[in-house]
């Protein structure tokens, strides 16, 4: 039907300099093949929005000098330790930092999804996160009983220009199956455009199977889909294939000691190993 199926490089071209880019959480389906293509393209001044935290993806983009600012609740390589490029860039003040807390990022995205200018959220009051976010506001709850101001935080809508993520399956029309990973759907609804890589593009239409349909993001929200086998490598894709520990260690060494050029070279030549390493245990 529509020509939504494209190459990974073509998707990377659409991520122009200065794009506000939404990234998924590490275990949620990270499009590392697309990320390497974005790095190889030499994208600059990206404003990252981590939904709600990131790891290897944000760190690699930062290491390769693609990032102007980052809004996140955390950046970490999990059991592989701290994210080297992120930690260094924050300390050197090289990237603008908007610290948040996970539900606040969801609230901002859901506001954009619903076309409202802000979303109220409980908690966060009297924290230094709030104190360092002049773009958030606090009002008294208009529905509070008299005599009790009941202050509540308001998060402004977050509308990414582009959301990128990796999923197991899509059909030729551009419908993408994400199962229970509904944060990917929230990102796609909130963002102006979505660029998706998948393990497999199938013929037929995902809506023909009502059980599959329950976990599908309709093509209405998807601008382009590219097939990328092991597209999350070296990260795992859910429980379908495991994280590649050797590749992670190679990344960490480069991010910690190398230059932006080193990272661009690493990104350009890194390819999933054949055969793919079995689960660690």
């Amino acid at each position: 039907m529509s020509g939504k199926i494209a190459k990974v490089e073509a998707l990377a071209e659409q991520v122009r300099d200065g794009t506000r880019l939404a990234l998924p959480v590490d275990y949620g389906g990270v499009p590392m093949a697309l990320t390497r293509a974005i790095v190889a393209r030499g994208a600059r001044d990206l404003d990252l929005v981590c939904v709600p935290i990131s790891g290897l993806q944000a760190d690699m983009l930062i290491a390769a000098g693609c990032v102007r600012s980052i809004e996140t609740s955390a950046v970490t390589l999990g059991e592989f330790g701290p994210a080297p490029a992120f930690t260094r860039a924050v300390r050197d003040g090289r990237i603008a930092l908007k610290d948040a807390t996970c539900p606040a990022i969801y609230a901002g995205l859901q506001a954009a999804e619903k076309g409202i200018p802000f979303m109220p959220i409980r908690g966060i009051l009297e924290s230094d996160i709030l104190a360092n976010r002049p773009d958030w506001q606090v009002i008294d709850n208009p529905f509070a009983a008299d005599g009790n101001p009941d202050p509540i935080v308001l998060i402004p809508a977050i509308q990414p220009d582009i959301a990128v993520f990796h999923a197991p399956l899509a059909d030729r029309d551009g419908n993408v199956w994400i199962g229970r990973r509904r944060e990917l759907m929230t990102m796609a609804h909130a963002a102006k455009h979505s660029l998706v890589t998948v393990e497999r593009v199938v013929d037929g239409n995902l809506f023909e199977n009502e059980e599959l349909a329950a976990g599908v993001i309709p093509t209405l929200y998807v601008d382009a889909v590219a097939e990328a086998v092991h597209g999350a490598w070296p990260l795992n894709l859910w429980d379908r294939y495991p994280i590649d520990e050797a590749a992670m260690r190679a990344y960490i060494a480069c991010a910690r000691d190398g230059t932006a050029d080193d990272m661009r070279r690493l990104a350009a030549k890194a390819v999933p190993p054949q055969p793919y390493p079995a689960a660690a245990e």
Partner: protein, 239 residues
């Protein structure tokens, strides 16, 4: 430690554990095993696929907490101070911290909404337990009039167990683990805390619980925290 955590979770219907916290995870799985049949306990391990019955994406954890459907959660901190404030962001002056940690995650929200937030840190030192944190990711208590059904409930370390007294805004030493002393706790804690005249020793798990931990619970943990359970098995005295 795992048995102590299980004790802290008694009566909870739904306990949520972060993916990268194996000891709390093990404690929660033990507590679930011990929960009475008419009051089953659900344990959700965030980020895992097997032990996680959320179907509405990452936001559901927080919505669920806000609906009052999560009874206990585990948090830690690069720094924790005497008022229960936790710092997950870094030391020195923000934002160019001298030492930058990953970030606050969901702490600034769950610390308000979940009744029993159990603080857990495997390093008991003055570096971690400071008088005043450099950055408040989530405040220990809130001013009057602030909607806050939840907050810090206890602080567990390798040396001891504290309760948190919301009214006094201070920790209170509940017990010291076997082989450790109150003085050792005081020496390694940078904030003032209350204590009873006689500080009891943290009870060690009864034989049946110990067997349970080393048996069925160990297998369950292995499924979620493979590396952790392998190390634990190695550390066990030869049965």
């Amino acid at each position: 430690m795992i048995a102590t955590i299980a004790g802290l979770l008694e009566g909870c219907r739904h306990v949520t554990v972060g993916a990268s916290s194996p000891v709390p995870g093990a404690g929660a799985l033990l507590a679930r095993r011990l929960a009475p049949a008419d009051r089953p306990m659900i344990v959700s391990v965030l980020g895992s696929q097997a032990h996680n019955m959320f179907t509405n994406g990452g936001v559901e954890t927080f919505d669920c907490a806000a609906e009052g459907r999560i009874d206990a959660f585990f948090l830690s901190g690069g720094q924790i101070d005497g008022q229960g404030n936790i710092n997950l962001v870094g030391t020195g002056d923000y934002p160019a911290n001298t030492v930058r940690w990953p970030g606050s995650f969901g702490s600034a929200f769950v610390y308000f909404m979940i009744p029993r937030v159990i603080l857990f840190r495997e390093e008991h030192s003055r570096r971690v337990f400071v008088d005043k944190v450099d950055f408040i990711s989530a405040p220990g208590t809130s001013s009057a009039g602030i909607h806050r059904p939840g907050g810090p409930y206890a602080l567990l370390t390798p040396l001891c167990l504290f309760d948190f007294d919301k009214a006094a805004r201070r920790f209170r030493l509940r017990s010291v683990h076997p082989g450790h002393s109150v003085e050792e706790v005081a020496d390694n804690t940078g904030f003032a805390f209350d204590r009873p005249d006689e500080v009891p020793v943290t009870p060690t798990p009864a034989a049946d619980r110990l067997a349970l931990i080393r048996g069925t619970v160990m297998d369950e943990i292995a499924e979620t925290y493979p590396r952790f359970s392998a190390d634990m098995r190695a550390a066990l005295p030869a049965a």
